[in-house]
Amino acid sequence: MSITVIIPTILRPLTHQQKHIDMEGSRVSEIIDHMDQQYPGIKEKLVANGNAHRFINIYVNDNDIRFQDGLATSLRDGDVLTILPAVAGG
């Protein structure tokens, strides 16, 4: 399944400055593994202790994966996976 991944500015040095990359995979975790093979170092920026890193939000078609099945969230052909660093204040 072909998935478009939108890369945030802060991670673009790892993806040769690409803003969008197309990856194959049926789950979010697979996409991240495939990305890490192609762009080494990106996985450790996204995953900590088997879950999405606390300060990184990952969305599948605008839905936060924490509210789906986390890294096991399944994907369909044409889905868009957006990575966004968390915003915070307070």
Partner: protein, 628 residues
């Protein structure tokens, strides 16, 4: 207060300030007294456009402190609280969540300006005592207003990804705050998604919808909006507050009613909080042999070293202000750097929102949880002048980095804790689960939210992070006072400030009106304080007295009549010209008016703001102080 600062005096026209500075005079009187400074009334002032006061410290030269409305330029404008909120973008940020750009009912810019002006005076005196050639301090209300919105300005003006959320096209969900079936208005808070999901699942909200609500909830801090799906607000509106509270407790989510100012004033420790002010100082025993830092440099805190271990807004802003005053600030970040460096929009490898508060600091990556890291921090504190943190309650003790630990290696240290709930009565104890000390919870608890809603006709406070910003300002102010005391009396100190303390400052006019504890008069309410639509753009009008309102009505050819009808007639009249055209007309009539900034990018077009804005990959707000 710092009792040993009693020989320092602040003299100015507090009882009879120039009318545009009534709130400044009132707040300066209150803040000076709470710091332990002697307040001396001086009943003369030069003109209506300036508020001047003199700060005197023993053995230091007199410091003339001048507050103006705008920068020193040839296009001065009217000076009132609402003019500043309108022209400097605060109304715009506040209006994003409510859908209506309007004043937000606090003497906010006046209070921030006052705190910065007093800090400037103390810093110059301290610089003098340390042998620096700085003298006199100038600050404008416009500079203070821009400083308050510096993160939003950074976000909006970033060349990498612009933020352009006008209130007209944003989704204006009425929440938060939320309303229960029995009519209780309340805020929810959690910093983690798990309690959020558990809470909404109990209300039969789907995971997907709860997730969309979480995404919207997170936008509060970054964008000052919270377009929460209506299904969520409707779900809580079917339950009574007691039931919602129980569900919150089960889910681990915090809940706080939007309390009234009267409720706040009935709190057990309120009177003591109000009398003592927003700081708690714990001064060490004077030690005449304390080694104090020698000074060189052009700014009043040049030569001083600050160690900062802070996250988010309040603490980092305090460190930023000390850096703007010349201190060398070393910021401790976790290994790999603060994750918020990646918070969009990012320019030149760093979040512009993050950079706006941290660009002047030296970064040191240390794992504060490791014994090795704690040892390294202790060693850094040995040679520092200030240690500043905003850790959760109890964490400093857990890390062996409490005041007792660090003052043991450095008795001259000023140890500062910028907290959420701390007052002179200690950490406020609230229901379980404990309330996170975040801006919106403190607004709800402290009466600030109700004060804002009273003016705006909304249910709660503002999503502009008003308390985080003022909390950062008073933290830096308290540190400067403690540094001055150290120079004068050879004593280190612990300084605790809080968001709740910032809220005390913002409600001080209401508190004084009810209790009349101090010999000072709060500013009177304006007789007209509104934003009107014009043929093109919005215009803010603030009439401080009846004479000004009369001039406005004469200018518009309106006769006196029923007040509610008057607003409507005014509204219709303003549609006849553009905001820019009205500004000229109203300036000639000496009616305070300002074109309302709706897009923060438009700040660049105002020549009165240029000295405080530096254009680059994003617009940086420069130092609010000018020293001679």
């Amino acid at each position: 207060m710092i009792k040993s600062l009693k020989d320092c005096t602040v003299s100015g026209p507090f009882r009879t300030p120039p009318s545009p500075f009534a709130a400044v005079g009132f707040s300066l009187n209150y803040q000076s007294g709470r710091l332990g400074l002697k307040v001396v009334e001086a009943d003369d002032y030069a003109d209506q456009g300036t508020f001047s006061f003199v700060f005197r410290a023993p053995q230091a030269r007199l410091v003339n402190c001048v507050i103006t409305g705008w920068s020193d330029c040839d296009q001065p404008g009217a000076i009132t609280e609402s003019m500043m909120q309108a022209a400097c973008g605060l109304m715009s940020v506040h209006g994003r969540s409510t859908g209506a750009i309007q004043p937000f009912g606090l003497q906010y810019v006046s209070t921030v300006t006052t705190a910065l002006a007093l800090q400037g005076g103390m810093a110059v005196a301290l610089g003098n005592l340390r042998g620096l050639a700085v003298s006199d301090s100038h600050i404008s209300m416009a500079a203070a207003a821009l400083l308050s919105t510096s993160q939003y300005i950074a976000d909006a003006t970033s060349t990498s990804s612009s933020e352009n959320l006008s209130s007209a096209d944003a989704d204006h969900s009425p929440a938060p705050p939320f309303i229960s079936a029995d009519g209780i208005v309340f805020e929810l808070e959690t910093l983690n998604p798990d309690p959020w999901l558990r809470f909404w699942t109990q209300l039969d909200i789907s995971r997907t919808l709860a997730g969309k609500g979480w995404t919207a909830f997170l936008l509060r801090y970054a964008k000052a909006i919270a377009p929460i799906p209506g299904e969520l607000t409707r779900a809580v509106s079917k339950l009574g507050y007691a039931d919602i509270s129980r569900l919150c407790a089960d889910a681990g989510m915090a809940i706080c009613r939007v309390r009234t100012l009267d409720e706040r004033m009935d709190d057990e420790h309120f009177k003591s909080n109000w009398l003592k002010g927003p700081w708690v100082f714990d001064c060490a025993v004077p030690q005449p042999e304390l080694p104090l830092t020698s000074a060189s440099g052009l700014l009043p805190l040049s030569g001083l070293t600050v160690i900062e271990s802070c996250r988010r807004i309040q603490g980092p802003l305090a460190g930023h202000l000390l850096a703007l005053l010349g201190a060398r600030v070393i910021r401790i970040e976790p290994p790999g750097g603060d994750p918020l460096r990646g918070m969009p929009p990012v320019s030149e490898g760093c979040s512009v929102r993050f950079d706006a508060l941290n660009r002047l600091k030296v970064i040191r990556e240390i794992d504060i949880k490791s014994p090795c890291g704690q040892e390294e921090i202790t060693e850094m504190a040995r040679h520092a002048d200030v240690f500043l943190h905003n850790w959760a309650p109890g964490k400093a003790l857990e890390l062996d980095l409490d005041y007792a630990d660090l003052s043991r290696v450095n008795p001259a240290l000023i140890y500062a804790h910028a907290s959420g709930w701390f007052t002179d009565g200690g950490e406020i104890s609230l229901r379980s689960p404990s309330l996170p000390g975040t801006d919106f919870m403190v607004q709800a608890y402290s009466g600030v939210a109700q004060k804002i809603s009273r003016t705006c006709g909304t249910q709660g406070g503002t999503l502009f992070t008003a308390l985080d910003v003022l909390g950062g300002v008073i933290a830096a102010q308290g540190i400067t006072a403690a540094l001055l005391n150290r120079q004068l009396n050879c004593a280190g100190a612990k300084v605790t400030s809080s968001l709740l303390g910032a809220a005390i400052l913002l409600c001080s006019d209401d508190f004084q009106n009810r209790h009349d504890f101090f010999d000072c008069v709060p500013p009177a309410q304006s007789v007209l304080n509104r934003v009107f639509e014009t043929g093109k753009g919005k215009i803010a009008i603030e009439c401080l007295d009846d004479d000004t309102l009369l001039r406005l009505m004469q200018t518009l050819d309106l006769s006196a009549g029923d007040k509610s009808e008057l607003w409507q007639r005014l509204g219709r009249s303003f549609l006849g010209k553009t905001a820019a055209e009205w500004l000229v007309v109203l300036q000639q009539a000496a009616v305070p008016a300002a074109i309302v900034i709706e897009d923060l990018n438009d700040l660049h077009g105002d020549p009165r703001l240029k000295p405080y804005l530096e254009i680059g990959s994003y617009t940086r707000v420069t130092s609010p102080w000018r020293f001679q």
